[in-house]
Every structure is written in structure tokens, then in C-alpha cells.
Symmetry: C2
Subunit: 352 residues, 2 copies
């Protein structure tokens, strides 16, 4: 601790101590076969003795390289994104990159600030899970043309960026078909903002399934709300303002579904008995809820690893058209445990 004010030791110090040139030390650092074994040993001894720490920033400056990747996430307190971040970091670390983290809290303006600040650290690439209401052209301006960008989860119009997303449409279709199989005909789509790409896609899948079943959705079955538990609970009433009232709902995601369950309970309806619903994401809580939630699993950690891999590939072969990767999503049925999806419609005329 007494030396905590001392100059940090540099490659120069090693060179002096080992009585070689800086060039030689540099070669030792990068395991060049050009250095004599004895010299190498001597240099390495001194590095240990002096507690040398490689200054990668300096090396990056000189070599015009970067050893970091920026990860911009809207919300780490959402387990879906936390798992995603863990996967990204895991794969980046394995490839020798360090993760620059930036949280936006779903604010497009903070996102601009975060991107600007991260860009000053010269990341080799950016993985961006865009905040709601992101503007592609402003992002393009902040990121510039030199840094590859991978957009995750929420599609952004315009710029030619790589994209990794879930098969939202198919997922929502599976959920809707599942409720149809339970005999429901009046099925709502509950939650999310209709102008976000993932909500739009999920609504399409919902529509696909209904159309195939010959059901025409009533306008009042499409209820928007911010994708949080609280907002969903507050919006529950919107489902029941006008006849025909739905008997089930495909929810935008698990948070919304859990909120809706709360809202239903407050109105004296028992989810899974009087009303059936499904979620999206398979966050850990959906297995623990009462009743448990049938939902769609996307394995966010694996998505994180995949995002990192895509970005690293892009760094290797810089050019090439931008890539759109859509990942299938799996229906996790929890009805066996008397799940939230098991309510039969009141007028249970089973179709099919």
C-alpha cells in the first residue's frame, strides 16, 4: 500500500531491468519465436518481479485495433436481458474481448448518450438491444459507419445492420393455437406497444392462428400497455368494457401475463379457472406463478452467445450483406400443473 502512489511499471522498466530493448520485451509479450529462450526467461522474471501489467489501450492505439465490444441493453433488471448479457459476456470473454456495458432504461435519449460515450472508447463492435422508440437514423449517426452493429430483439428500420431476433410471429401463433385447442374462440392479445416491431409481429402470429380457425378478432380484444407487470394489472379492465368479452388472452410477454393475473384476481376472476392466458419469454417467475404460466422460451443466454458470435464473425469478414437471423421459439406448456392456460371457455363448445 505504501507504493500505491508509485508510477505504474511499463514495458520500458522491464527493458531496463532485463537489459534489453523495448522491442524485445514487446516480442516476449506476444510470444514471438524470434526471442532467445534465455532472454525470454529473463524478461519474464523481471515482469513478474516488477508486477508488470500490459497496457492494452496503448497497444490498441498503436495497432489501430480494439479489444472491446459494447453491449447496450435497455434493462438489466429484466431477467431476459440479464441472461442475454451474461451470454454475450461469456462468449466475448472467451474470444479475448472485454464487454463495455451500457444501460438505457428503455429511454431513447439515454440510449443516444450511452452510445456516444461508448463510441469514444472505440469498441470493435456494438450489440444493441434498442430502447422503445429508438430512431434508426440517430443511432446511425451516433455509431458511424466504421463500427459494426448488431441489433437484437427489436427490429430497426432503415440502416443495414445485422439483426438477431426471435420468431415472434410463429411464437404468438403457437400460443394462440394452444388456447384455441382449449376451446377458446374469443381470445385477446394483451399488452405491448403496437408500434414496436416485436409486438407487431406477435400480433401477426395471433392473427394468423385466429384466421386459420375462422375467428375474426374484435377490436376491443387488442389492448395495448407498457410491458410491465404494473401497467398490465392497471389495464386489465380494458378487456371487459364491451361485449363480446374475451375468455382468454395471448399476452405480449410474461411480465404482462403476470400483471394480468394480478389484475384478474383483483376483479374477482381466477386466472386458469375463469380466464386463460399465455406469456412470452419464460422468465423464471412464470414457472412459479399461481397458476404456472404457459409461455414461449427463447433461451436468452444462448441468444447472447449467438449475438457475440455473429458480431465476432462480422469482425473477421468485415464486408458482406447484413444478416438477419431469426431464432425459433418453443412453447412451454404448463397446463399439466393446472396452469394459467387451462380455463375452459364458459360456453365450452369444443371445436375441431
Amino acid at each position: 500500500m505504501s507504493d500505491s502512489r508509485r508510477r505504474r511499471v511499463t514495458l520500458n522498466d522491464i527493458a531496463e531491468a532485463a537489459r534489453v530493448s523495448r522491442a524485445t520485451v514487446s516480442l516476449v509479450l506476444r510470444d514471438s519465436p524470434l526471442v532467445h529462450a534465455d532472454t525470454r526467461a529473463r524478461v519474464e522474471t523481471h515482469m513478474r518481479k516488477l508486477g508488470y501489467v500490459y497496457n492494452r489501450a496503448a497497444a490498441n492505439l498503436r495497432r489501430q485495433t480494439s479489444s472491446s465490444v459494447a453491449l447496450v441493453i435497455n434493462d438489466l433488471s429484466n431477467p431476459f436481458f440479464a441472461e442475454f448479457a451474461a451470454g454475450v459476456d461469456e462468449a466475448l470473454a472467451a474470444a479475448g474481448y472485454v464487454t463495455l456495458l451500457g444501460g438505457t432504461g428503455e429511454s431513447a435519449s439515454r440510449q443516444q448518450a450511452v452510445l456516444g460515450s461508448l463510441m469514444e472508447h472505440q469498441p470493435a463492435a456494438i450489440i444493441l438491444s434498442p430502447a422503445e422508440g429508438s430512431d434508426a437514423s440517430r443511432i446511425a449517426h451516433a455509431v458511424g459507419a466504421h463500427t459494426p452493429l448488431l441489433v437484437f430483439n427489436r427490429e430497426l428500420e432503415g440502416a443495414g445492420w445485422d439483426f438477431l431476433g426471435l420468431d415472434n410471429r410463429r411464437g404468438a401463433r403457437l400460443a394462440t393455437e394452444h388456447l384455441l385447442k382449449q376451446g377458446h374462440r374469443r381470445i385477446a392479445f394483451f399488452g405491448g406497444h403496437a408500434d414496436s416491431s416485436s409486438c407487431r409481429e406477435r400480433r401477426l402470429g395471433y392473427g394468423d392462428a385466429l384466421a386459420a380457425a375462422g375467428v375474426t378478432p374484435e377490436p376491443q380484444w387488442l389492448v395495448e400497455c407498457a410491458p410491465t407487470r404494473l401497467e398490465a394489472a392497471a389495464q386489465t379492465g380494458a378487456l371487459f368494457v364491451r361485449d363480446p368479452v374475451p375468455t382468454a388472452a395471448v399476452c405480449y410477454n410474461d411480465a404482462v401475463a403476470l400483471g394480468l393475473m394480478l389484475g384478474l384476481a383483483r376483479r374477482g376472476r381466477r386466472p386458469g379457472h375463469d380466464f386463460a392466458l399465455t406469456g412470452f419469454d419464460d422468465i423464471p417467475e412464470s414457472a412459479m406463478s399461481v397458476p404456472p404460466l404457459t409461455t414461449l422460451a427463447a433461451d436468452p443466454r444462448a441468444r447472447g452467445r449467438q449475438a457475440a458470435a455473429l458480431v465476432l464473425a462480422r469482425l473477421k469478414h468485415a464486408p458482406g450483406a447484413h444478416k438477419r437471423t431469426i431464432v425459433p421459439v418453443q412453447l412451454v406448456v404448463r397446463e399439466s400443473s393446472g396452469g394459467a392456460d387451462t380455463a375452459a371457455p364458459p360456453s365450452a363448445r369444443k371445436r375441431r
Copy 2:
């Protein structure tokens, strides 16, 4: 995209374009009052026009400063740590620092690798939530004496680092007292590794409460297991191998408590009816479990902000003795909803 191969624009380019020296551009960048307003405007115009991005790494190298703080977390998929990370990042960003993320997956050896890699990026400081089985001296070696380190959550013997932790002892005492008030006398402490500091402290608080109530814990009431749901479920049987068998358990954390609930159910016992238990952490799932879990809340996001603040303060006034900050923890009682803690002891001789 056609210019994505072009040299990135530097301060030099701006100087040429604006017909001033690099020094002047540098002064403009840092809002120096020395520059004439007209000159400033001209320079700024060219910066925008050329799409200049400040290279903070180069500036840091020259100024011998750092604008990053490393955050080493054992497990982002644990919501407690994810929230903590979100809080850290939020506060660091507000102070103009960028977060270097490193995940260890609770592996002490990966932790060494991660620390080594992060150190090469010259963080101004490190916030470390140590992996199980961390070795203080190895950490000290990786971090060196020049970089302030804040240890979070799990105390590390030896080195003089700042520490931020929860009042585990008091928390566990509160939980134990709560169960005592329900009439329980045979209360187990379930889960965690006895050699981790947080488990040790929680066991002490548990012991405090029992001692005050005149109860001597049987050795078989102290059950260890890894702090995960799966391990906890698997270890459930250990509670019931020998008489006198406990009627309630203070669990090491929520994950363990949820696992124990699963294990109890498998053995035909209904948590909250035949057996009472409490958790620790207040992860979102504990409110949703069946029955809901009484637990201890630590507001991890606020802890993250606090950790960042401590580290930033240390950077301002470098010297000074290391600081030990212990945060109180709040009992969140969920018995009103027929919670997991409401089971009365079978032989309900209410004391007091």
C-alpha cells in the same frame, strides 16, 4: 457503407480542415475559454461535418487517467446481481465512467482470468462481488496496489479493501424471530456453504435469535447446500433424517427457500401448512411463489448505486483507511397472503 474502410477521422483532420493547430482543436474539445468563439464555431462545424469521434483511450493514455470502472460479478442470471449491476452502471454512467463487465460464473479461477484481462484495460477502480472460494491473496496479486477495489457482498479476509455488504446477521435474526413468534421452537438453518462469510453471518443471527429464546439448535438443523434451487430441493431430506425434526427453516436465500418448497412438496409436505420457512434477498419470484415467501429485502439496485458512489469517492480522496459499509436489510412479511411462513408448529404450544 462505401467509406467503412476509410481511415477514422482524428483531431489532426479537424485541425487541417479548420486551419488551426491540433492544440486549438484539443482546447475546443475540452471547452477551454482560451479559444475565440469564432474559432470554436469553425472547429465544431468541421467536427460535425467530418463525423469526428473523440478517442478517449488516446486521451487517457496521454493524461494518465482512466474513464472506466470494472465490475466483476459472479452471476448475472441471479436477479440480485443483475439489479446490482444495473445500479452500478447507472451511477457510473452518470459520473462519466463506462462499465467494464466481467462475469465469473462463481468460479474462482475464471475470476482470476477475468481480473487479469480487465486490469489490462486500466480501469480506474474495480467493484468485485467475489466468487465462492475466492482467494484474497490471488486477487490482490491480480489487481495490484494501484487500483482501488471495492468488495461487495462477500467479505474477503486479509487485504485492506473497501467493503459493502448486507447486515446478514441482523437479517437472519429477524427471520428467526419471526418464526419464533409463530410458535416454532425447532427451527433449522437451511442452505449455503458454512465457509462463506454471508452464510456464516446469517447463521450467527439465527443463533442469536434462538439463544435469546432459550432454544439450543440441534446439529442436524444445520444443513448445507449450494445456494441454488436445484441443490436445495435435493438436500431437503437432510432435514428429516433424525429426531427432533424441525418444524420450520430459515433459508440461506430465496433460491434455496424456493428449492426447499419444491423438495417439501415432493415429500408430501405442504410449505406454509406443514412446514414454515423464510428466504433472503426478496427476488421477484418470492412474491409469486405458492405460498408467497417471507424474506429479507436489500434493494440491490440501490446497493449498486451505493457501490459506485463508494468507489468514486475513493478515487477522489485516494488515501484513507478502508471503509466497511454494512447495509440494514428489511423483513418483508408475506403471511397476510397465507405465506410460506404461516404454518403453525404441530404441537402448537404458543410461548410468551
